[in-house]
Symmetry: C2
Subunit: 469 residues, 2 copies
């Protein structure tokens, strides 16, 4: 067994995470501290995430737009909590075009303010509502402790911004996005089971009246916030004067929402499924689903591999043929494992002689000999099996990492290295503060059946507590 090119995740999880990103060719640090260069394989994963989320966002009726990167500093100051939340993280442009600017401008940390300014012009009557917009963009939030994909000074994301005539309509739309876009995407595409719930007042988005979250659980038993949807009440509508004439003729302040998911999802994918051999990608998101590896360039093996590759690709799978026989087979096999490609098909001399190939599942490590002619018919179904098995595996892991507790003391103990579930009434904001002293936070407040509560005051709510990235 050759030495593993990556650290053991059970010994040093942060180092394992860095190693996987570097060795699988996902990303590396940019020259300015906290920034990230996303390499082709990492970006191919992001492109697939983007395409699927974009389809779901459009199906929910939102239209794509593009708003400016640069925002007048004064805009952020119009909403008191918002400016307080974001000020420490701002990057400020003071000079441009060879001159000092009369008013400094900030690079967007998020775009509620600049959307608010413009949406106020576009909304006049109740007939203009709801106004449902989304953009794919880069944002800057200066990070003191950056970590690739999870926390970078610049990241890529989509941010939705909507305007509604009533609080109920805004709440319903934010929930729709949260469930039909984020939850369904995470479960169906990334095979990540998610904990759904509301954030506490402590953890809410700066300027929101309600923040809903999808929380994932990493393989080192921490929580990772994967997507959030915010009801902003009338806070931004009042700050930016987004009003409309109701059917009654009265002029009313509107209600707004915002919601986002970012390149952090790639980090969630790594930490949600990765193992001691590297990445494990769910087939639906994998840029390469099947790697056909030519062991040695003998007996027409390369042609056979190409032929097989074409036959499998014709069934709709994303296939790559690895005929790089100048590199040793062992090293290439380890690389395909590192990259998390769901299915590997090895074509060795003995396989070819017997008209067979070796089929290896990345998720379970299971190996078997399969007649070449059976492979094209078999792969499509196998990919779907792997997809659902990976979701089941991640769900089992999450459930095993979760413990019901009934006191602050037990929550403190469990939260050190796992996920605790405790009645919110038993914990409360005071217990929450105590946990925070130990670096444990309330990830969300949820109903016993795992659905999102409409308020913190519902009976029987549970708090999910854990350390978090």
């Amino acid at each position: 067994m050759p030495k593993s090119p990556i650290a053991d995740p059970n010994e040093d999880y942060p180092r394992w995470y860095q190693d996987v990103i570097a060795r699988a060719g996902l990303a590396e640090n940019g020259p300015v501290r906290g920034t990230m260069v996303i390499r082709p394989y990492g970006f191919a994963i992001w492109e697939r995430i983007q395409a699927d989320l974009d389809r779901r966002i459009k199906a929910a009726g939102a239209q794509n737009v593009y708003f400016p990167l640069l925002i007048p500093e004064s805009y952020l100051q119009r909403e008191a909590e918002h400016v307080e939340g974001f000020s420490p993280e701002l990057a400020v442009v003071t000079h441009a075009g060879g001159k000092e600017l009369t008013e400094p401008v900030v690079i967007r940390p998020t775009s509620e303010t600049v959307f608010g300014e413009q949406m106020a012009k576009w909304v006049n009557s109740y007939r203009d509502l709801p106004l449902l917009l989304n953009q794919w963009a880069n944002v800057i939030r200066w990070e003191l402790r950056p970590r690739l994909f999870l926390r970078t000074s610049e990241f890529l994301w989509q941010e939705g911004h909507t305007v509604h005539a009533s609080e109920a309509d805004a709440a319903a739309y934010a929930l729709r996005i949260h469930l039909d876009v984020y939850r369904d995407f995470l479960v169906e595409m990334l095979a990540l089971p998610v904990l759904l719930g509301r954030k506490t007042a402590e953890e809410r988005f700066a300027g929101a009246t309600n923040t809903m979250t999808c929380e994932g659980i990493t393989r080192d038993r921490k929580a990772l916030q994967l997507a959030t949807s915010h009801e902003l009440g009338q806070n931004f509508a009042r700050a930016f004067d987004i009003t409309y004439t109701a059917e009654s003729g009265e002029v009313e302040a509107a209600w707004t929402t915002s919601w986002g998911a970012s390149t952090r999802l790639v980090g969630g994918l790594i930490m949600g499924h990765g193992d001691e051999r590297g990445l494990r990608l769910p087939p639906r998101i994998a840029p390469i689903q099947v790697a056909i590896v030519v062991v040695r360039d003998e007996d027409g093996a390369v042609d056979k591999a190409r032929e097989l590759g074409d036959a499998i690709a014709a069934g709709g799978a994303r296939v790559e043929v690895d005929a790089d026989t100048h590199t040793g087979f062992g090293r290439r096999a380890v690389d395909w494992e590192l990259k998390g490609v769901p299915v590997r098909i090895d074509l060795g001399p003995r396989d070819l002689a017997s008209g067979e190939a070796t089929l290896i599942r990345r998720d379970t490590g299971e190996k078997r000999q399969v007649p070449l002619g059976d492979l094209p018919g078999l792969v499509g179904e196998l990919l779907e099996t792997i997809q659902s098995d990976m979701l089941a595996d991640a769900t089992a892991f999450r459930d095993a990492a979760t413990t019901d507790v009934d006191s602050l003391e037990s929550a403190l103990e469990v939260g050190k290295d796992g996920v605790g579930r405790i009645e919110w009434a038993k914990l409360g904001p005071e217990g929450e503060r105590r946990l925070l002293d130990d670096g444990i936070s309330v990830r969300c407040i949820t109903r016993p059946d795992g659905t999102v509560p409409e308020s913190e005051d519902e009976p029987d709510l549970l708090a999910i507590v854990a350390r978090a990235y």
Copy 2:
């Protein structure tokens, strides 16, 4: 005839351009001077441009990546011409995370430098070459005289960056991108005939040894640069130490290229096809290809329109049913013209009574009555006819706007309000400077057959001269 909502392009072309952008809902100014808010209809056009260019770029073998927005100021200074070219346009971040930065960072005006730094790490051996990368990103170049889409302080684009083992390989790849990606896209998708050629030394990209351009002709007879591809020689390879070990074992400096096209393409589309009624969109790029307009909500007209819409959409066309009968028909008809939707189908009470609809081509204004049952079968072919007719029309316009001249004096005269074509040997760099005094530039140097010359020294080259946006 109601008063036109837009200025007459023959009287005030710049005003007409602004009016079309505003009234068709394409974009508006952002709060920071020179920035742009791209609205849903404008962004839908850009998304279609992006998707098609992206497909062509991938077919040419390049892989997508994402590099940081922020670049250390010192990087730009490593290539002398590059820093001189871009310094006046830079936006500089001096403060971030609540502190003054020890080294100011600039917002990328283009990314040769930061790609150069990273590519030097990725390239070691001739086996790593060619390295073919592309990114979709926003860039900032501070504009003193901004104009929506054509010249904005922030714009969206793709920028390709490639590394090659030899000058010949770099030149061949830059040319391949220029023809197979840019030219073919412009001609096939945007129906814009393009003038192909090399830029003169005066007009070259800062740091390039050769810049190739695709120049479009606007309807006010000016030139508009639509896409450029640069051979960078070894300038950036030497500045960023991109070297490789050749098969011979020698360490050699590599050769690089870069190439880009931006949201300016939307401006090119407006100015290349628009007329006194607004936009005219070629069907292949139009977000909506067919608008079915219900004249009055009578006799089940809305249901008929939806049924017809479904039948036409089933054939693959992008259809929108306009059943907004609260707004007068005349105003809606004018709006669909403004938005440049290639085909309009009016369903009026008389049409319905006779089982017909009125079919209107946006490009020619041609109207005819068509039996409802014939429409689904007819639309697909009609859209292709419109696509090729629009290219023919734009080509005829360009040819009529172009005059062969044989002296500097005639070039000065023709270039005032049209395109001049003159032997480059007769003009030369001195003539070029004289033209520049009058605001006329050499848009490109081209061969008599319209192909791209390999050098300025080939015999019989022609210079294309015009005013330009």
